[in-house]
Amino acid sequence: MVSAVAISSMFDKTIEGASEESSILIGRTEISSVEGRPVSLALSPELETSPSLVAQRVAEPRKSVVRIPVPSEQPYHFELRQQWEGVVTHVDNDEITVVLRDLTHPERPDLEAVVSMDEVAHDDLALVQPGAVLYWSIGYETTTTGERKRVSHIRFRRLPAWSRRAIARVNARIAELTELFGE
């Protein structure tokens, strides 16, 4: 049986720590997946299941025997191409209407978009109501595996509850307005 320990480090070029027994077993077994994930195995040309090879592997138990091609790892990157700040003006059962102010090109006129509720992240659904503020970003995402794709992110702003300090500011402004209005 293939040891999970032996195969777990899929993104290593060589499997470190594989036991002699498991290495030999790998050499004999066609493995297409491990723990449900596809694996491509490249066997060392010298790997044979002859007794002499077994003896050699016992003598050099830590020599690499399995090579798994691995994508080069790179940091996640998001190239922002366009961003709007939106305010929800209308909510239907299955869609929302949003007025969008262009944050990338502030000189551009506002847009209005009707967006399906399916585009709203599950975590944000509870925030969807008239007056809710959202940020809509469009750009290219490059994943750690090097995959580049265009993406659209709609995230609703989580505004903090009214703090005492904010309420104090509101009350102060109300007092100023009352004075201005001469009441």
Partner: protein, 369 residues
């Protein structure tokens, strides 16, 4: 037709600006004095439409603009109004009496706490305008000169007697009614009760507290309908306007309320307030599920306004981006995408205070329906 020619001293001018979503009226009330009602931006320059126009016709904004009026607080009527007021150093600021209510003051104060990146909502503009007034008062100027002046049905905003060279002039408020103001206490209070979590404040409907302005300069009369809707009872909306005692008489020019919508129509507007062949001026509201005016609205207005129906801007077309990837993604994700205006339109009407026929000029995106 020359945009840069100012009106004659005895001409009433009503200039209506609109880019698709947004409305601004500037009015010449004789002798080089001007009134600004609401504000919108020119989408191509980002500047308030009123200030750009004044610059082109040579108006000295700091001294010649007598009143800056905010008819109501919705974004499409307030963008840039604080800049207009700052430039209009001699102006009195006028707004609806609804703003005076404790509930409304709370709305203004709370709006500041939202801290939107682009903080130019209607309430923010109103707040900035009031800051400007506070500074002028702190500098020693009198409330009667700088405002805020609160107006409601039958309030007189401005009155000038006739003299050797100029006809008399009167600017009056025809709304909101006392009933509508009482109702707004409840409506705004309900809005505040819902605001447990912070969020932007969206419009209250129906709009019954907007300020309708009647203008009379000699024999020339105009009614500026703002966004006032028909009203939920005869004591509100246009039913109440028809019962005001300050009505200036049959008007030749009607700035049609609420972008020509059916729910702002009242037969009495045309039978009581307006002369037999009035001009109808409309700003569109090119947004929402039912952009205004609809085709049916235009048909109705053409049947009523025999002097012609003039619209500041057509519905904006398809939205395009220089970045094709952004355009494609936006159209993939959204079911509908519309611009809220890309080109400013300007309808200019001038009529002599001696009651000659009005002349209409169209600039930019404006057109005759």
């Amino acid at each position: 037709m020359n945009l840069t020619v100012p009106p004659r001293a005895n001409e009433l001018e009503i200039s209506l600006f609109g880019p698709g979503v947004g409305e601004c009226v500037v009015a010449h009330i004789g002798g080089g004095e001007w009134l600004v009602v609401d504000s919108c931006l020119n989408p191509e320059s980002g500047e308030p439409a009123a200030l750009e126009y004044f610059k082109r016709i040579g108006v000295r904004v700091e001294s010649d603009v007598r009143y800056v009026v905010v008819s109501h607080w919705h974004d499409d009527h307030t963008r840039g109004v604080s800049r207009v007021l700052e430039a209009s150093k001699s102006a009195t600021f006028v707004c609806s009496t609804a703003v005076r209510q404790d509930e409304f003051k709370t709305l203004i104060a709370m709006s500041r706490e939202l801290n939107l990146k682009d903080s130019t909502t209607g309430l923010d503009e109103l707040n900035q305008s009031l800051r400007c007034i506070e500074e002028r008062r702190e500098a020693g100027r009198r409330k009667v000169d700088v405002g805020p002046k609160f107006a409601h049905a039958d309030s007189v905003i401005y009155r000038r007697d006739a003299n050797e060279t100029l006809a008399s002039c009167e600017v009056v408020a025809l709304s909101p009614s006392a009933s509508a103001l009482a109702r707004s206490h409840h409506d705004i209070g309900a809005l505040l009760a819902e605001r447990v979590a912070k969020r932007a404040i969206v419009n209250i409907t129906p709009n019954e507290t907007a300020l309708v302005i009647g203008l009379r300069f000699g024999q020339a009369i105009a009614i500026l309908g703002s966004d006032l809707e028909a009203g939920s009872s005869p004591n509100d909306g246009w039913g109440a306007v028809l019962r005001t005692t300050a009505k200036p008489g049959p008007g030749q020019v009607f700035k049609v309320p609420h972008h020509g919508s059916e729910n702002a129509h009242h037969d009495g507007q045309w039978t009581t307030l307006m002369a037999p062949s009035p001009l109808a001026l409309v700003t569109p509201y090119a947004t929402g599920k039912k952009p205004l005016p609809s085709e049916a609205d235009v048909v109705r207005l053409k049947q009523l306004a025999h002097g012609g129906v003039y619209v500041t801007a057509p519905r904006p077309g398809r939205v395009s981006f220089s970045d094709r990837m952004v355009e494609k993604t936006l159209n993939d994700v959204a079911k509908v995408v519309r611009s809220r205006g890309s080109r400013l339109g300007h309808v200019r009407v001038r009529v002599s205070s001696l009651k000659s026929s009005p002349t209409v000029e169209l600039f930019g995106a404006a057109f005759a329906a």
